[in-house]
Amino acid sequence: MRWGTFLGTTVIVALIILYEWPKMKQNPKKDKMAFFSLLLMGLVLSMFNIQQMSGPTAWIVTFFKPFGEFMEK
């Protein structure tokens, strides 16, 4: 866990909420749910050391391995 990244992301998330909330007050509840859950996803991801973590891009590389080996030949 890297506190600097996490704190930085928290500040950015707070700024986004401050900026966006007044504009989306009358939007349906679903919009607000999506807004906050996406922000939460971003916040959770910032807690990990994502550069070394295997993620979607690494899975895609594994998925296309036969083609990748063809290209690396």
Partner: protein, 365 residues
């Protein structure tokens, strides 16, 4: 969801930098690795994927006007499979935007702003793109129109000033090892040409829909010609060493020395790249935000723009410990993933949609 309208010319102007910006910088050396001195043939072969993609996207759009791929895939293959496919599209466009952003940050940090932390370069770009995506498609179209001269002018100047350094003998032997090397080299630009599927997110908002196909095809041709010319210039100047450079156009621009006045033109390349990357990231960001909102059935895509910006920055670092890994991903995964998601799956969707439409026709008779 989106009330703005753009013209089909604006669509073409948005797409041209979107494809060319990254393709002229990194692609020549990767292509040269496989195609050797036939690298100028590869974009011509790869453009076939571009023509096919535009044709498929336009036909799908005609069957389901006013809808993007996220919406009509639910109608074509059913609700649950459609949602799954929509999720796959989300997990194509959001990470790919992150990867483009990382490519931009790496280039600026490695070549020009060596002491600036990469996150500053990338975050400032994302903030700029988020503002323009939030403004809507009209703002995006007008910004692309405004920046197009800034994008094309330096390329032309560079080509004219380089004319003294060109060594035309580098082109021989043409097809020395048969057609296979340029064919294999065409896979890489093929991934770029498949990005023309982005028109599916723009076609529903065209004011003059009938011209969409024509302008799409014209854009594919313009991109193909630009790539052929850039690949030829790189080949004429660098010869067989092209494949060993990371950014061949940068190296080429350092050769320019005209009247002891025009020197250090790599700043021109940087201008092309910054403007092009800005348009490119904005268009991809727009596609990502719009598809997220449509996938979740939201009333507007604007509330999710900023949260997706955070995700894009995180995806640009996720599983990419170094810039080496990013360029490796560009070779071994992106072309296949791009062609699968943006050409092959739409083709399957089109076939299913056609069959279903025809069956419906025979049932009612």
């Amino acid at each position: 969801m989106e009330k703005g309208k753009i013209s089909s010319l604006q669509m073409a102007i948005m797409l041209y930098p979107t494809i060319v910006a990254t393709a002229i910088l990194g692609a020549p050396s990767i292509t040269a690795k496989y195609a050797l001195n036939d690298l100028w043939l590869s974009p011509i072969l790869a453009a076939l994927i571009g023509y096919a993609t535009v044709y498929i996207a336009y036909k799908l759009h005609k069957l389901y006007p006013k809808q993007t791929v996220i919406q009509f895939s639910e109608q074509i293959i059913g609700r649950i499979p459609g949602k799954i496919l929509g999720f796959l599209y989300l997990f194509f466009y959001i990470p790919i935007t992150g990867e483009i952003l990382r490519g931009y940050g790496d280039f600026i940090a490695d070549s020009f702003m060596v002491n600036t932390p990469i996150i500053v370069i990338m975050a400032s770009m994302v903030i700029l793109c988020a503002l323009i995506v939030r403004g809507g498609i009209e703002v995006l179209g007008r910004a692309a129109e405004l920046f197009l001269p800034v994008f094309i002018f330096p390329i032309c100047i560079l080509i004219i000033l380089l004319s003294a350094d060109l060594d035309f003998k580098n082109i021989f032997p043409i097809l020395g090892d048969g057609i296979m090397p340029p064919l294999k080299g065409a896979i890489i630009p093929g991934g770029w040409f498949s990005e023309f599927f982005l028109i599916i997110f723009l076609l529903p908002f065209l004011a003059d829909m009938k011209k969409g196909m024509k302008y799409g095809m014209v854009t594919v041709f313009a991109v193909m010609m630009t790539l052929v010319v850039v690949n030829l210039i790189v080949l004429f100047v660098l010869g067989s060493t092209t494949s060993s450079k990371v950014y061949p156009l940068m190296n080429v621009s350092r050769y320019v020395s005209f009247g002891e006045f025009f020197e250090h033109l790599e700043s021109a390349v940087m201008a092309i790249w910054v403007v092009g990357a800005f348009v490119k990231i904005s268009v991809f960001y727009y596609a990502a935000a719009l598809s997220t909102a449509q996938w979740l059935n939201l009333s507007d895509y604007r509330p999710v723009v900023w949260p997706i910006g955070i995700l894009i920055v995180e995806f640009s670092f996720w599983s990419f410990p170094s810039s080496m890994e990013v360029s490796r991903y560009d070779i071994i995964a992106f072309p296949f993933h791009g062609i699968l998601m943006q050409t092959i799956i739409p083709l399957l969707l089109l076939v299913i949609a056609f069959v279903r439409k025809r069956n419906k026709g025979t049932n009612t008779r």
